[in-house]
Symmetry: C2
Subunit: 119 residues, 2 copies
């Protein structure tokens, strides 16, 4: 990921509602959620929600598709991964302290990443 993209993604995530939206969408994977349902969970007006969804889409973090009269949004998880990769590698240069602190706990349990990286 390039710096410009990373900056756009960071700016998009640096807002409470938008971060909530991403957190909500990631677990739903490709299926995503319709805008209305997202609005019900993050508690904001339709126009505000649309604004934030548009901001996230422009930053490449989510993608929209139409399903009948609803619009389904889903997280672009590779983009999120790229952003995190940028922070780890380009920004922090794979620094050991940074890596050791990220305390990853994926499907195989906390510490997997830490153990794998720096032996």
């Amino acid at each position: 990921m390039r710096e410009a993209q990373a900056l756009a993604a960071l700016a998009a995530l640096a807002h409470e509602t938008r971060l909530q939206i991403v957190r909500l969408l990631v677990p739903h994977g490709r299926d995503g959620l319709p805008a209305g349902e997202i609005g019900g969970k993050v508690d904001c007006s339709a126009s505000r929600l649309s604004f934030h969804l548009s901001a996230l889409e422009q930053a490449g973090l989510i993608v929209a598709r139409r399903d009948g009269r609803r619009v389904i949004y889903s997280a672009r998880r590779r983009k999120m991964g790229s952003l995190i990769g940028y922070l780890l590698n380009d920004c922090c240069n794979g620094d050991e302290t940074v890596c050791n602190t990220c305390g990853f706990d994926g499907p195989n349990g906390r510490g997997d990443c830490r153990a794998g990286i720096h032996g």
Copy 2:
């Protein structure tokens, strides 16, 4: 890391100059760099630099100490790690696609993290 902290950190990083500063400081670890030297590398006026350094410090991403008439700034690498951990775990729920894409390449080479996490 809590959401509020993560939001503050993301907002701080979502600026070209400030991202550059962090990138510059991380490799210097605890030793850090004096403000003037940072200013020389990121090419901005002294007052602007001071503003950005202050923003990063308030977000907890860097820390300042005085050394004579100079002020030395260093990256708080654990904070960066915590932010990345927040993005991976709290925000993305340890999602496999996200993790696989982060393409970590720490000291032991690209792919360590990927291999370690999801078998």
